[in-house]
Amino acid sequence: MKPAFSVLFFTVTSGIGYGLLMWLVAMQLISGQVGELQNFLMVGFIGLTLATLGLLSSTLHLANPKNAWRAFSRFRTSWLSREGVFSILYYPVILLYAYALYVNGGELNPAIKIIGAVSLLIALATVICTGMIYASLKPIRQWHNPLVTPLYLLFSVTSGALAYSILALALEGSLPYFVMSAFLILLLTSLLVKIVYLKSIGKPEGSTIGSATGFTQAQVRLLDAGHNGDTFLSNEFVFDAGAMKLLRLRWLMIILLFVVPLVLVVATYMFDVAPAVYLAMISLYLGLFVERWLFFAEARHVVRLYHGDQRA
């Protein structure tokens, strides 16, 4: 599949935004303390801005945006519709939570805790829906994989944890030990799941040109695709980055997304150089872009079988 920048930016940025907001609310619910109200509002604002920027950029790839409002109408069947509904539903809930905290003088009470917990669940549901949009597409076996949705969720929560930590460092002057530990555990878990995922999409399986044409006993080869120019199908589905480039980018992804943040965070604690976590965040953000680009570039839609591929 051809990677579209608007979709890469959307999934990466809104993933961080929702992850950040999840940690913000979760830490308040766990500790029962809100801390400086001003800092809470600041972090909340940044998280919501990231999520909103992502959502806005996702409407950029629509060919007919004037009908975008209709996208909330098929909640029962469409994961894209579910994502739209949850992402919009999130705003009133998180704003109500912030308002209630403000009115209550920065103190939690059971009612506010329930609102916070609901906002947490909606943010979680939004990220899961983003993953399921891809995981539900049967014609793309690299996406129709049980690890795709867990990876979307893991990357959102992992990047959110680091974003939460650097904002705490910037606003309060110290790194939150609990969230940083969680970040390290989540980062290593993501690495493990990603490696298992890459292994599983490397297996030769799925549809072949034989099952696509019905000639399951014969050897089939495309002679003529029926058109001598580009088509919507070839533009949309036939994207070849080259095996070597993909392999190099996989290593770049592992270095930027996992190795560099891990080394920098460990260095932060060992040598007490707190600013290194800012660099870790930049590296993680770039790494996520490479990861999302590869997620598209390595996905091979079965329509490619009608354009000359031998197997999916």
């Binding site: 009908n67 549809s207 089939v220």
Partner: protein
Amino acid sequence: MKLGLVIDLDTCVGCHACATACKQWNTSGTIGPLSDQNPYGKNPIGSWLNRIRTYEVKEPSADPRLPSADPRLLSADQKLPQAHQKPPSDNQESSCGSQQFDLYALATKGESALSFAGINSATGAPASKTVHMPMSCMQCEDADCVTVCPTGASYKRAEDGIVLIDQDKCMGCNLCSWACPYGARELDEEQGVMKKCTLCVDRIYDEKLPESERQPACVLSCPTSSRVFGDFDDPSSDVSRLTIERGGKGLMPELGYKPTNRYLPPRETAQVPAMAKTKQPALSKLKKWANRVIAR
């Protein structure tokens, strides 16, 4: 009703008349226009609802890098009737009736896959065939393009099974085209909405047309009658009869979309014995050579 098409891969000559007739009818039909971008320029591009590809189909080679027959890819409902599952008999002539199914036959371990497309490598005839394959919407029973649509623009009609797009509701997100394994959906860049085969819903129910013309444009235009339109729910219809008689098959059954359209495999063709090379004695060769030289 379960309306759909049967496409005969034996007689299709790949002339693209169906695609052209489709474009001509539908650009001014209910879902029209079907726009083209840069139609007379260097890289013309446009929306088509039917595309024809040409394949070389030949005997599987021993090359392990190329995918061969894989029994896992066939779902239970695609298995052929019992009569056609008997092991290949040594006497090719006597089992001729079922040989045409060999092309689409179930691959089972130990079964010889030498005979297909009516060409038997044992006779020395080239075991390869050129097949033209037109593809439009398969009007799937489990159409994911409909379920993924967030706006409700894509829908499948309960009364006849035709999958359609409400042009006024589509927001052009492309997700339905991603969900379609057959490449049946194409975005109209001019209007920003998705287009697909309607099975000429604006023809087949039009009572102002003579009854013989109440068929999809592609079916009417096919010069070799390789396309047949009808109701698969009616066991006496042409499409049902042809599917059973010729072993019609849906594409990519392993994805579980339950496509309605069926493809008929190429028929068993008469075996033309290859001309035998006879050994000629050296003297007659010399005579022939001498005659040729003198004739000059």
